[in-house]
């Protein structure tokens, strides 16, 4: 797949939604694609040096639960942290890579990571909070790459 290009826009910052951009980005790179991921809004969480990603069942009735928990109880303090740690445990047991590991594999494979400058400013994030090698740019820069991409996804 030499010469092919994959452009991804990553907009979500939860533990579950962190997987698709990094899985697809690293795999495409392994297949020979040139890959760029443009992180915007909550997707910027995925560029932080210290990722603190959580998963929640609120608003997501499809999330499998070991036992049924009423929605109001799911909103109680501590529930989100508990669900996150249960999810992480399950992932580890099943041999699913951590988000950190997949991100490192993307970096090693020269996957381009672009942070949306507008949302970095909007949320008062500092480049000091972000991993090294991130570029800061806007929509026009995304199209410079995506305009020639074979595949473009919005996640």
């Amino acid at each position: 797949m030499e010469g092919k290009k994959l452009a991804i826009i990553a907009t979500k910052g939860t533990l579950d939604w962190a997987y698709p951009p990094f899985i697809l980005g690293s795999t495409a790179a392994a297949l020979g694609y040139e890959v760029q991921i443009f992180f915007t809004f909550y997707g910027l969480e995925l560029l932080k040096k210290k990722m603190d990603l959580k998963v929640t069942s609120l608003g997501n009735p499809a999330m499998p639960m070991p036992m049924p928990v009423p929605v109001l109880m799911q909103a109680l303090p501590g529930m989100q942290s508990m669900m996150t740690s249960m999810m992480k445990k399950k992932m580890k047991a099943k041999g699913v890579a951590s988000v950190e590991e997949l991100r490192e594999l993307c970096q090693e494979a020269d996957v381009g990571m672009i942070a949306c400058q507008m949302t970095v400013d909007l949320f008062d994030y500092s480049p000091d909070d972000m991993i090294d090698g991130v570029e800061y740019a806007g929509a026009a820069a995304f199209f410079e790459f995506a305009g020639n991409a074979d595949i473009c996804m919005y996640i």
Partner: protein
């Protein structure tokens, strides 16, 4: 299919790790050398076939032995 130059045990790892680790292992080999890959992820059977088709590396064989999937791949 016993001859190989390097072996990668990806047992217990799930998608996409077996592919990513195999890609790395192949990078350390010379063209024509053979990598043996052991995996337990059932999805890896179709994935290694697709990986070979897209990268030009040759999947010499793909089989199952005692609940594990064994692949031999020759580097392009």
């Amino acid at each position: 299919m016993a001859d190989f130059d390097s072996e990668l045990d990806a047992s217990g790892l799930n998608c996409p790790l077996p592919i990513l680790k195999a890609k790395k292992a192949l990078q350390g080999l010379a063209s024509g050398q053979v990598l043996k890959i052991i995996a337990t992820d059932p999805g890896s059977v179709k994935d290694f076939d697709s990986f070979a088709k897209q990268t030009g590396n040759i999947l010499l064989s793909s089989g199952e032995e005692g609940g594990k999937f064994i692949f031999f791949m020759r580097k392009a």
